[in-house]
Symmetry: C2
């Protein structure tokens, strides 16, 4: 028995998750909530998360909603038992990333593309120097965005291993 205390080890990993969360634009508390859920035996209710994390009930309520929206945790509405709402971690992180791609990035990109389309329409019959220069730039941008959009679309349609395999095969 020369191993460390499991609880302390868990705590360290969860702290690492807190730091990761910040990098990905989430709050520290979101990282901790996910971490606690990740190591939990079963889904946890809000009071249980309060107990485990030390955060206020209201914070847990808000954070779990945000994490649910992103797809990092699932709401298991246990219709039966005493406690009502319970949260479980989504462990397939690539699935979460795909969701974010579709929900946020894809939305942003189509919105941007719409702007560019409209702009090109309005420049259609501008044949002075200024107009054509702008048109070229906008068309360039549109092409770049199109490529990124296509790539994102393909990425959301495959698993990580499929993507890795595809590229490795491509490389020969």
């Amino acid at each position: 028995m020369n191993g460390d205390d499991p609880e302390a080890v868990r705590e360290d990993v969860i702290e690492s998750m807190e730091r990761s969360a910040e990098v990905y634009g989430l709050s520290r508390s979101a990282g901790r909530v996910y971490g606690v859920l990740y190591f939990s035996t079963g889904p946890l209710s809000i009071p249980e998360l309060v107990e485990e994390t030390g955060y206020a009930k209201s914070t847990i309520s808000n954070v779990t909603r945000k994490l649910t929206r992103i797809g990092l945790v699932q709401r298991r509405s246990s219709s039966g038992g005493g406690r009502r709402v319970r949260f479980a971690p989504e462990t397939d992180l690539w699935f979460v990333v795909q969701d974010v791609f579709q929900q946020y990035l894809a939305r942003e990109m189509t919105s941007a593309q719409r702007s560019l389309d409209r702009a090109l329409d309005r420049l259609e019959s501008e044949d002075n120097q200024e107009g054509t220069a702008d048109r070229d730039r906008i068309e360039d941008l549109q092409e770049t965005y199109g490529d990124l959009q296509r790539l994102l679309e393909l990425a959301t349609e495959h698993s990580t291993t499929e993507l890795i395999e595809a590229i490795e095969q491509y490389d020969g």
Copy 2:
């Protein structure tokens, strides 16, 4: 000549860029500065950007530094001419994304992996139930992270068109 005023059209596209910037975690001003540079004939100095954007000199100074760090604009230190520093937009957006992948995501991932490695070491000789359960979870996480890391690595080594082609070929 039924086209719109080019300046108004440019303004609309730049406003779209401002919105995009916010989605990607940048400030509104960053989006505008990039947009102005994107449509400019040549690189612009800080006073010129002040003139074009309406932002204060200090804001432009800070924003250009941030954009340069990310790789969205380049510092063209024109050693010769009157004005000293000039900024040009990086138009290869995929290149910028790759840079962010390497600078921020890859760093975050290796850091997280280190935490997981250390945690596994410390749990090595825990053979009670709690310890083994934690170990399994951490190993799962490590594998997921490894895949994501590998995928990121491959993505930074190829252009968008290469990646698209690779996946499309893979799909048959």
